[in-house]
């Protein structure tokens, strides 16, 4: 990856720890909490948040994974990578506070799709959103409840979140990219 590094492994670890505290604080405890990571990189991030909560609260929070491919409003972008990565929600959503976890918040379309998907599985008492990076440029009235880092970007830039579980290292990088690549990568 040839981008400029804006978060190192240590920064990500601290951000996750802070978010995990914020989530518990906002919920005033851990009762009824559940975390659902959005495929792909939201899933390991959700697991890390759960591990952090287990460490400081001693409470085990259920973690799920959500694939939003079938809920996107831009099927043509999906067609270039049509592989669906799997949804696993091994607990009942009804009445819970579900915190969606994703790597980058950008247009908000992924989150819109994720909420549609989630509601097909049940009726959560509340849905909240935690992201590692908020890069702006929202196209929908959506905001994150918990943000690791706000990063002002231009639309031409790409934000890459690397996580150890998938990419072999933890980092957030920002890169100027040709328009075509931007179209492929315009997730979030």
């Amino acid at each position: 990856m040839s981008g400029r590094r804006i978060m190192a492994a240590e920064d990500i670890r601290r951000a996750i720890t802070r978010i995990s505290h914020e989530i518990v604080e906002k919920q005033a405890g851990t009762d009824g909490l559940a975390l659902i990571g959005i495929q792909r990189r939201g899933v390991p991030l959700a697991r890390r948040v759960a591990a952090a909560i287990l460490e400081h609260e001693g409470a085990e929070i259920p973690v799920g994974a959500l694939d939003i491919t079938f809920y996107r409003d831009d099927l043509s972008l999906v067609a270039q990578q049509p592989i669906v990565k799997g949804t696993q929600i091994p607990f009942d959503l009804n009445g819970r506070t579900v915190v969606l976890v994703d790597d980058v918040l950008y247009t908000g379309r992924t989150i819109r799709a994720a909420m549609d998907a989630l509601i097909d599985f049940g009726r959560p008492q509340a849905i909240r959103l935690a992201v590692l990076v908020d890069r702006g440029h929202r196209e929908l009235p959506i905001r994150a409840d918990h943000v690791g880092k706000n990063v002002p970007t231009s639309r031409e830039e790409l934000v890459h979140v690397l996580v150890d579980e998938i990419d072999g290292e933890d980092a957030v990088e920002i890169e100027r990219a040709p328009a075509l690549e931007a179209a492929v990568d315009a997730r979030g």
Binding site: D67, F70, L75, A79, F121
Partner: protein, 336 residues
Amino acid sequence: MTTEVERPGSVSPAPATWGHRHLLDVDRLSRADIELVMRTTDEMRDVLARPIPKVPALRGVSVTILFYEASTRTRVSFEVAAKNLSADVVNVAAASSSVSKGESLIDTVRTIEALGADMLVMRHSVSGAPYLAAEVFGGPVLNGGDGWHAHPSQALLDLYTLRSRLPDGSLEGRKVVILGDVLHSRVARSNIWTLTAMGADLWLCGPATLLRGFEGWAVRGAAGRRFTVTSDVSAALRDADVVMALRIQKERMASGLLPSLREYAARFGLTRARLEAARPEVLVMHPGPMNEGVEIAADVATDPRSVITTQVANGVAVRMALLYLLAAARRAEEGA
């Protein structure tokens, strides 16, 4: 990320894209394409297991199902699949349409497109008819069976069923027997492609009159594919891992290819006694509709070794995957 990293523990290479505009037969599908259909089908099965088995992936897409031949499971299965993906479905049965007034296939397809169809699923008694439709129709065409030629969605659902039921999920070296009226069977012709492509040791078995033309294929031996043609039922069934019985089409009797249904049942019918020769964990398949007591005994069809109802259930998931992949490819084309 623009490059996909493999999910740990997954065996097959991740195919990058789906490059087919239509699904007319399986002969153009690479092994990677087939893997992509199988993996997408896995996801569709997960969707079907949800409390609300419906996703909005094909919202606003209009799917027309045009069947010139009778069908229950294929037509209903495509319809359910399209509805599960939130597509709008229009059914046209040729018998009750302007086709009965003599409208040509090309005119019918043009009319359907003008009425707003984005995708066309069709069945026709003439081999090759969907290819003609694909030349005229602006969107993807899915062949739901044409003449004796091809039935791609059936072959893919058979493959999916086998992979989910065989112990290690692999057809490599497995002895698969297709038993019955191979000559008139589009199911057999499409299955020959997929099963041999996945490494199966394929046997075609039936009366010699219903195997005509296939001996040549076996002798030429397509590039490394294992393929045997025989009228010897006991040799075919010996140690078989899979037996797929085909429907004896009663309408063929007039042609003198078979002396009688009774004689066929006696010599080639799949009975419990014959099945003894196969491996104990053999899987019994039938694409339906069955003539119980002719090509398959009633007790074999309902035996625990039978996966016939699983085939039907998997049909919906496979057809969801196919509709989804073709619709996504079409959108990509339009966007480009």
